[in-house]
Symmetry: C2
Subunit: 452 residues, 2 copies
């Protein structure tokens, strides 16, 4: 597509260029324009867009591009874009812009919109209130289907979704919900009260945005109504925003599991120092925590020098323990996050992990024993690996896997119980703990069985 745009741009074939651009989906236009480094050209092409497409494209840009464009806009252009975009998108943009631009934006919106934006901005970050939009269709219970259609036709153009309609009383309490589909399936003179769903599922403004999005997905809603403490309907969260929230939360979980402080800036747009800031805290903490393994090794230093063949298995034992524990912790973290298991399932989980650990432990220690005795000792003729040494290493694997899986499955649940995010209890953290435990088990058996 870019080649075609470049060609039309170079030949100053503006009419064709305009037509071509305006036929592309706004999400694609945004991607195309963001890939252009020449800022003047980008602004020029953006100005080719029709008012509506321009606004739809604008909300798809990342915040840097939005900031640059706003700086290039005249007040009239800014107003045109602001008039077309939804209030939740406007609030998102304002949250990320520097003060001077925020002032310009607020100066160019009407009083009503400004107040609506300010309401959303007041809710805590990551709350349902902070991502909702007040642009929903509200109906009254005594309206007929035909009244409802008229109202939707009249006011629908400004609503983020028209397909789910909310029925409120005089004090704006949410008393029912219906859909355009239901409206279609009833007769024009049926009253809404007679077929609306009265058992309305809603979310509170202060609930977490992830809770709201998961509930929306669970109930297959196109929008989730958001109510205040008095059950007054104040906004809705639409399904497209819920998907974005779920994807962001997944990314955050994955980052935490990899010992990274979460960020929602795309990789290539994060500066080196920003990336460093997100990665160094856990690296430092984990490095310092590894002091404990160094201490354990120091204590056993002399014994190790006496039977140095034991040193060779340290990395393998540590990795196997870490991997086993990591599998358990990551499985539990994900299940907690998807709501498949709960704090009360802890004993079921431990019992299950214990059984899995026993089977995994038997398989791995048998393979390890066979490998040491057949491959290393008999085929490669490494005479240092005696039956006793192979036995100690294999026994360590068996016991360390049981410990690793139990530690791996309990720590995320405890973290959740204490109100922390279970995701930080993933592989890197578990590995550090399991390393120490594995070494203690290893040297314990070595001392006992090999009498060193």
């Amino acid at each position: 597509m870019m080649e075609c745009i470049d060609e039309l741009h170079k030949n100053r074939n503006l009419r064709e260029l305009k037509k071509y651009l305006n036929e592309i989906n706004p999400a694609d236009i945004a991607q195309l324009l963001e890939s252009i480094d020449d800022e003047k050209k980008r602004v020029f092409l953006f100005r080719m867009l029709s008012k509506e497409t321009a606004a739809e494209t604008f909300v798809e840009f990342d915040f840097d591009t939005q900031e640059n464009l706003i700086r290039a806009f005249s007040d009239t252009e800014l107003k045109e874009v602001l008039d077309e975009i939804y209030i939740d998108d406007a609030a998102d943009i304002i949250e990320e812009m520097p003060a001077s631009i925020v002032k310009r934006i607020l100066r160019n919106t009407d009083t009503e919109t400004r107040e609506a934006i300010n309401t959303i901005l007041k809710y805590p970050e990551d709350s349902a209130g902070s991502i909702m939009t007040p642009e929903f269709v509200d109906l009254k219970k005594d309206m007929t289907v035909s009244d409802a259609f008229k109202r939707i036709r009249r006011t629908g153009v400004d609503k983020e979704t028209i397909y789910t309609c909310y029925v409120t009383d005089e004090s704006r309490h949410l008393i029912g919900v219906t859909t355009v589909r239901e409206l279609f399936l009833n007769d024009y003179d049926d009253t809404i009260e007679d077929f609306m769903e009265t058992n309305v599922i809603s979310i509170n403004t202060l609930d977490d945005q992830e809770t709201a999005s998961r509930a929306l997905s669970k109930y297959d809603f196109l929008a989730m109504p958001v109510v205040d403490m008095e059950n007054r309907l104040v906004g809705i969260i639409t399904v497209d925003d819920a998907i974005d929230v779920l994807q962001e939360e997944n990314t955050e979980d994955i980052q935490k599991m990899a010992a990274i402080v979460p960020t929602d800036t795309p990789y290539l747009k994060t500066s080196v120092i920003e990336t460093w800031k997100k990665r160094i805290p856990w690296l430092l903490l984990l490095m310092v925590s590894a002091t404990i393994t160094s201490q354990i090794l120091t204590v056993f230093e002399n014994k190790l020098s006496a039977l140095s063949v034991l040193i060779a298995f340290i990395p393998m034992l540590m990795d196997t323990g870490g991997n086993s524990g990591g599998q358990a912790s990551v499985t539990i973290i994900r299940s907690l996050s998807l709501g498949e298991i709960d704090l009360k399932d802890i004993f079921k989980v431990i019992w299950k992990e214990f059984q899995v650990a026993v089977v995994c432990g038997i398989s791995l220690s048998l393979v390890c024993f066979a490998k040491l005795m057949l491959l290393d000792r008999i085929i490669f003729g490494n005479s240092e690996i005696t039956f006793a040494v192979a036995f100690v290493v294999s026994l360590t694997i068996f016991i360390e896997i049981i410990c690793a899986k139990i530690i791996g499955c309990t720590l995320p649940i405890f973290a959740k119980k204490l109100g922390f995010d279970p995701a930080v209890m993933a592989s890197p953290f578990i590995t550090t703990i399991v390393d120490a435990v594995s070494l203690l088990i290893y040297f314990g058996f070595a001392t006992l069985i090999l009498s060193i």
Copy 2:
């Protein structure tokens, strides 16, 4: 809720029980009924549901519960449920049921439905075709808004979504798309052709279901049209199914990153042996791969015995390398999966990771050096830690972090280039490679600087 149901059930207050149950959202009813161990009671309660609610609840159950219920159903009951559910849900269920139940299901559906189900079942697993439903609203371009409304009112009850309408020609080619919202915003006698969107975005039946779902989310669609090789519209994927696909793919990615063979069965429903099967392949592979680190240690065994203080730092060096590499690989895997970076960005990525690695390396090696010299040597009086030893350890950290980050960021990109899933190149795999590299760097510097 369960207490109330139990109470009504015990008192045989069937009228109230029926009323109470049918007011609950089907997703919640499914959860409640699944928590009941007594199968007879579950079937009894299920039979209290109205036909429509029963069907909506049925598709929310897991496959085990569905199978048990079908076994308890009479043919009439089965037919009633099947008549109400959507074709994509029916296909999902059939795919998971044993042959005897599949036969019963197909015997109780009409020919048309049976053919539609068979079409979906023929598409490869995880393809767009395998999750689509043929129940969409199709319009003709010369219809007026009022014709369209009539058609939606007449046929809409059986469609999975009515809000996005597809315009097809006589040969079922997809030539346009419009929405109920657009229909509302135009006059009753306007012709669809005049306002329909002709630049239609669609997905091919054989495209990956994840690609389809990501595209739906990118364009904020409520449904994604699926076309065959001849651009004939054969089905749609609705937004609720797309969310489920995205969540499943996220779970799979996370499992792969933790060295687990992916599964979509919830944790507590997977048997011990199933869980073992998913975890043992990677554990075994990684354990055997760790042989290389054992070999390296064996080679340097004598040198280590000569200066045994060096042994103590092995776990710390291995963990730090593994964590640094894991951070890089997981970041890149996620960015690849979200489409934020592409194969062509490889040099940008390497350059960025190199810079991040240098800053991380400087920070960590300085902290490590300070800790060794000040804390361990001066305060704890460990005289084995000489300036040279501290220097070797710190220098190893610096260099290993650079290697780890470069390995961590390139392997997922190479995996993608070769057509593998980048997610398997996460922490556990990277750790095994980085371990070996770290040890070589460590012993290299030790030999050079400490002349052992």
